[in-house]
Symmetry: C2
Subunit: 348 residues, 2 copies
Amino acid sequence: MNTERASGAPTLEEVARVAGVSLATASRALNGSSRKVNPEYRERVLAAARTLDYSPNLAAQAVAKGGTSTVALVVADISDPYFSSIASGVMRAAEERGLIVTIGSTERRRARETAMVRMFRGQRPRSIILVGSRWAALGSDRELGDELKAYEKAGGRVTMVSQPQLPFRTIDIRNREGAAALAGQLIKHGYRSAAILTGPGDLNTARERAEGFAAAFAEHGHPIDDRWLVTGDFTRDGGFLAAAELRRRGLGEVELIFAVNDIMAGGAMAYLRSAGVRLPEDVAVAGFDDIYSLRDITPALTTVSLPLELIGRRAIECALDDEQNGDTRVPIYGVPVLRESSPLIVRA
Amino acid sequence: MNTERASGAPTLEEVARVAGVSLATASRALNGSSRKVNPEYRERVLAAARTLDYSPNLAAQAVAKGGTSTVALVVADISDPYFSSIASGVMRAAEERGLIVTIGSTERRRARETAMVRMFRGQRPRSIILVGSRWAALGSDRELGDELKAYEKAGGRVTMVSQPQLPFRTIDIRNREGAAALAGQLIKHGYRSAAILTGPGDLNTARERAEGFAAAFAEHGHPIDDRWLVTGDFTRDGGFLAAAELRRRGLGEVELIFAVNDIMAGGAMAYLRSAGVRLPEDVAVAGFDDIYSLRDITPALTTVSLPLELIGRRAIECALDDEQNGDTRVPIYGVPVLRESSPLIVRA
DNA sequence: CTGTTAGCGCCTTCAG
DNA sequence: CTGAAGGCGCTAACAG
């Protein structure tokens, strides 16, 4: 007759007992789809649940019904505003659907990505969403792809936000087009010579943006010499150092510096300023992403605006709502936004 | 003799069958603590698991052993760098211990906080970590407290990062002391009159910072008139608008503007600049938090530096490692960092 | 509608 | 060291 439990949460069975009904009835009253249970009983069950502070064991439910309402999200670095904004979108959309989101951050290390997927697979999430640039090296995605395929074979849905290199639904951020569009605008504003601060060569996002930008300049008759192409980390400090290297190479003729993301642009601006370069008088600067918390740097940064939150929403929509085949591509186009960091050039 | 499954992941039983051993043996080989199983069998099981792409069902494990290795994290807004930095610390520390982190964002709405805890309770996480300012209104924490108490009674561990208002372990960010220390430094630098841009009056973090700052100025003989105390949202736009309001009140005599967080300070600076106010020549500015992505705004922002990532680590350490009673307080002190936005004042 | 009875996938005594 | 059996908390047919 001992109703107490040394520890551990109260179970449905206890609730049923206290309410004086069967386990099944309690279950139906608490979760089972809509009104199919006597109002009186229902009330008694609810009351019992309340006094016992009952909370349904989601894990048990998952086992019983053979499925969860969880979504796993894998990002490269949650403290980076780019990823946290996307994560925000994912979480909002998920919550609207009553889904729980579990997040993992790979710290930008390739191996962790696969390991993380493996671990998350055990959760049997409805969907695994992977956001972050792919790497160029052929076959480097092999392991990850296998893991993901296994997950899909078991009924899971994979969604990626990156380059469509793997055979899964992917939110395809058109970096090349965005960078080209930005370059086009800049050229219209009078720019003829530009330098590019790019990320690690095997990081596709960095490469695509750099190439798209360079191609557009070349097409308009202003090819960018390799000398003006500097590589650095995809981070703030990477931008800082790359700017330093660029200056070392001499940036006398450079009218504009395009950093492949806003954070790098910010770092570059910090370096330039510290080196006595006036912005934007001596040289213009542009970035990519349109990160919200960088909106107030001075001069206001010209960039390619990406609907980060929306991308997050799309990711879960894409993963859940459709009957799309596993190879859907949802393109996302960025919009160039010219601000004070790249003033109109008036030539004599 | 059908080994296929229409869908759904392979189970331990299938692995066992393929390996030609019992369920128990397979279980032990795959998870059971250390070597207690014949190497040959173990190999066979591992091989079977591999060819089947087996992934242990965490939910089932949780039900069977009556516990999970999950940690739930509730933040006010994951896209805010303040929270995402703390989240980053939590996740790093969690991963080191093989824990899975599930995150929820309340969108800064009080009611969602309680709802979220209720939902997370069902996951039976080892710990629930709540990060975000408490509200002042007496009894407003009642519901949340009840929910949390119920969770604790069932064996869970609650950790808060906020004001120690509730009877749970809490990482106590000493806002008052931090703001006072900043004020002290500023006074040493020659500042005598300051204005404060604060957040909603019932948001304790905002209130504590404003009060700590004001108190320090008053103690040094430079009380801050209510006229120089402007309230706004705890966001970038809040800072922008508050700065506008402040200017409307006339900021002729104000030497320094203290915004209760960096984001607001950034917004304020944007407004001031747009209004033709020179920074820091016409007025100095200071913030609080030392947000990384704001490090490159101009002029470099004076602020109180908080070890955000570390706070995240502490939170999970505090929640997991100790035998502390449920009422531990871990104080965290911020360090004032004076930068270009608040130059030394030399008086005639 | 309600209660009874099987499982869900896995762990864990408990004999062998 | 191995296998059989019971149980974790809950849901889902199935009969009443």
